[in-house]
């Protein structure tokens, strides 16, 4: 299978702390890959690394056959990498629609001269098409009826959905979800699983998912990677991971029966 993303012996150090140690990892076309591991294992650090917030101390990150170690975050968005945040990060004083609009490539690239000198009718036509697309993205996560609401006043679960819609509006090919189900109830979680699967299959967006809910991880993942203390300790199908003695001993410990 095609490799979309490939990490080779990637390490990230914060002063003396090694948050990631020589991690090898690849993401394949069309799959849902889950990253699991105990608190502080380095999962979010891995996302920050992929999206360009941190740079690797050593190792290489390859995306679609080019090394992107030093690429700025906004460039990576242009190349098709988008994410959601563990602690939701929205533009709280802007509306649901505006939160999605700002990332839309055409809205984002609207030139200053076009904005000032184009005729109203022309601008309206162009912008209505962009709004239409953004509303469609919002509809994918079920927020199309809340266009005017300020993002900060949405309930927590919907804020997470809005983050997903925003990522979609960048036109991403790879979507990184950092604990998207945190704070959701069982019903919402089930809905979310359906949506993620749909996005993956119908819109062929590759997914990397960080999640603590093991039931959800086992259900949704094509493949799982386990991190512990910044090291990759296991990799494989949900079945393999459930039976991996390394995982059971080193990571799951007492929780083993839960699986």
């Amino acid at each position: 299978m095609d490799k979309v993303l490939e990490l080779k012996k990637v390490s990230v150090n914060f002063g003396g702390l090694a948050a990631l140690r020589e991690v090898d990892l690849d993401v394949r076309r069309g799959e849902i890959l889950s990253i699991i591991g105990p608190n502080g294992a380095g999962k979010t650090t891995l996302f920050n690394l992929l999206t360009g917030i941190y740079r690797p101390t050593s190792g290489t990150i390859t995306y679609k056959n080019t090394v992107i170690n030093k690429l700025k975050p906004y460039r990576r968005v242009e190349l098709g990498l988008a994410r959601t945040f563990q602690n939701t990060r929205l533009l709280k004083n802007m509306t649901v629609l505006e939160n999605v609009l700002v990332v839309h490539a055409e809205c984002n690239k609207e030139g200053i001269f076009a904005a000032v000198f184009n005729s109203r009718a022309h601008l309206r036509r162009k912008r209505e098409a962009i709004v239409q697309e953004c509303v469609e993205k919002l509809a994918m996560v079920g927020l199309e009826h809340k266009l005017d609401v300020l993002a900060g006043s949405l309930p927590y679960g919907e804020q997470r959905l809005l983050e997903i819609a925003r990522a979609l509006a960048t036109g991403c090919e790879v979507l990184l979800l950092d604990e998207p189900a945190a704070g959701m109830n069982a019903v919402e979680k089930a809905e979310l699983v359906k949506k993620i699967k749909r996005l993956s299959k119908q819109f062929s967006i590759d997914m990397i998912l960080i999640e603590h809910d093991m039931g959800m991880v086992m259900e949704i993942s094509d493949r799982i990677v386990v991190l512990n203390y910044g090291m990759k300790i296991a990799e494989g199908s949900p079945r393999q991971i459930q039976n991996d003695p390394n995982v059971i001993n080193a990571y799951l410990g007492g929780e083993a029966e839960e699986l």
């Binding site: 906004y74 968005v77 990060r89 802007m94 984002n108 904005a115 199309e144």
Partner: protein
């Protein structure tokens, strides 16, 4: 519909009232013209502070650069006012771009201090570069604009000219902030790190804000030079920067009508308070402090921001 009627009323008033004012007192008209100049200044600073969220404290420098550029172009190169004004605006815009390039890396207090320093340096250049600026003596004899052989001599002509400048500034900035550019600026103001990681280039937009802000402040400066026919470093002190800043804050950051309201209040108030001359700075300071405490978003602030302006989505629309 009501809005349209109101706009026509305002338009009619702004054309007719000055004529009446002039009958009463030339000085009143001067105050109105100053309100116009400061409206352009606060509108342009609002792009930098209110929209891009960059707390810059040296706006009078761009005003000064525009004024000196216009004065020198008209005095030494015999350029007509109509060419000198846009040229000065471009020069001040360039200054905004050049100042922006290093300071967009700074945040918060540091940005404030560096831009404050920039303002002082520019003023010191006006004072010290005697060969060109004649230092503290200033540059007198700047010609008034003329059009088809008709020279602007009275205050009323200058009034209509500044009205036009305010309208153009308002139109351009209004278009700019209600566009994809404006959305990106707001996003950067709200959360710059986030903006970066969702694909917005903060540096590009911050530079743009400084350039646009400098441009219109420069235009205001050029108008001032020609209106007063004399420029000296005194009009561009850091107190003037603070004054423009206060207009933006008082009126409401990220609100264009607010910027004009701020200019009206802060130009008119000192004139009204003239009889308490010694205390008027104190009173103004007090007013601003009270404002910060009780109405930090200004008289016409964030709450009035038009939501979902992009693409004319109707309120409550849900397909």
């Amino acid at each position: 519909m009501r809005k349209k009627t109101a706009m026509i009323a305002v338009a009619a008033l702004s054309i007719v009232v000055p004529v009446a004012l002039q009958q009463v007192n030339d000085y009143l008209l001067h105050v109105v013209i100053m309100i116009g100049i400061f409206s352009v200044l606060s509108l342009s600073l609002n792009v930098i502070i209110g929209y891009a969220g960059q707390f810059a404290l040296g706006h009078a420098a761009f005003y000064g650069i525009g004024a000196y550029a216009a004065a020198l172009l008209m005095l030494h190169f015999d350029l007509s006012f109509w060419i000198a004004l846009p040229a000065s605006a471009v020069i001040a815009g360039l200054a905004g771009f050049l100042l922006g390039s290093p300071v967009i890396r700074l945040k918060g207090d540091y940005l404030g201090i560096v831009t404050l320093g920039f303002g002082e340096i520019v003023r010191l250049i006006f004072v010290g570069w005697v060969d060109v600026t004649r230092g503290p003596m200033g540059l007198p004899g700047i010609p008034a604009p003329s059009l088809f052989g008709f020279t602007f001599s009275g205050k009323l002509e200058f009034y209509y000219l500044i009205l036009l400048l305010v309208l153009v500034t308002y139109f351009v900035i209004n278009r700019l902030v209600h566009s994809g550019v404006g959305l990106s600026l707001l996003a950067i103001r709200e959360d710059e790190t986030l903006a970066q990681s969702i694909g917005i280039r903060p540096n590009k937009y911050k530079l743009l804000a400084f350039t646009v802000g400098g441009f219109f402040a420069g235009a205001a400066g050029a108008f001032w030079a020609s209106y007063i026919s004399y420029v000296s470093p005194d009009a561009f002190r850091y107190l003037d920067s603070v004054n423009i800043l206060a207009m933006v804050i008082l009126g409401g950051a990220a609100s264009l009508p607010g910027s004009i309201l701020g200019a009206v209040i802060l130009v008119a108030a000192p004139e009204i308070l003239r009889y308490v001359s010694d205390y008027r700075m104190i009173l103004l300071g007090l007013a601003i402090v009270l404002m910060m405490i009780f109405k930090p978003s200004g008289f016409w602030g964030e709450k009035h921001r038009r939501r979902n302006f992009y693409g004319n989505v109707r309120k409550g629309e849900s397909k």
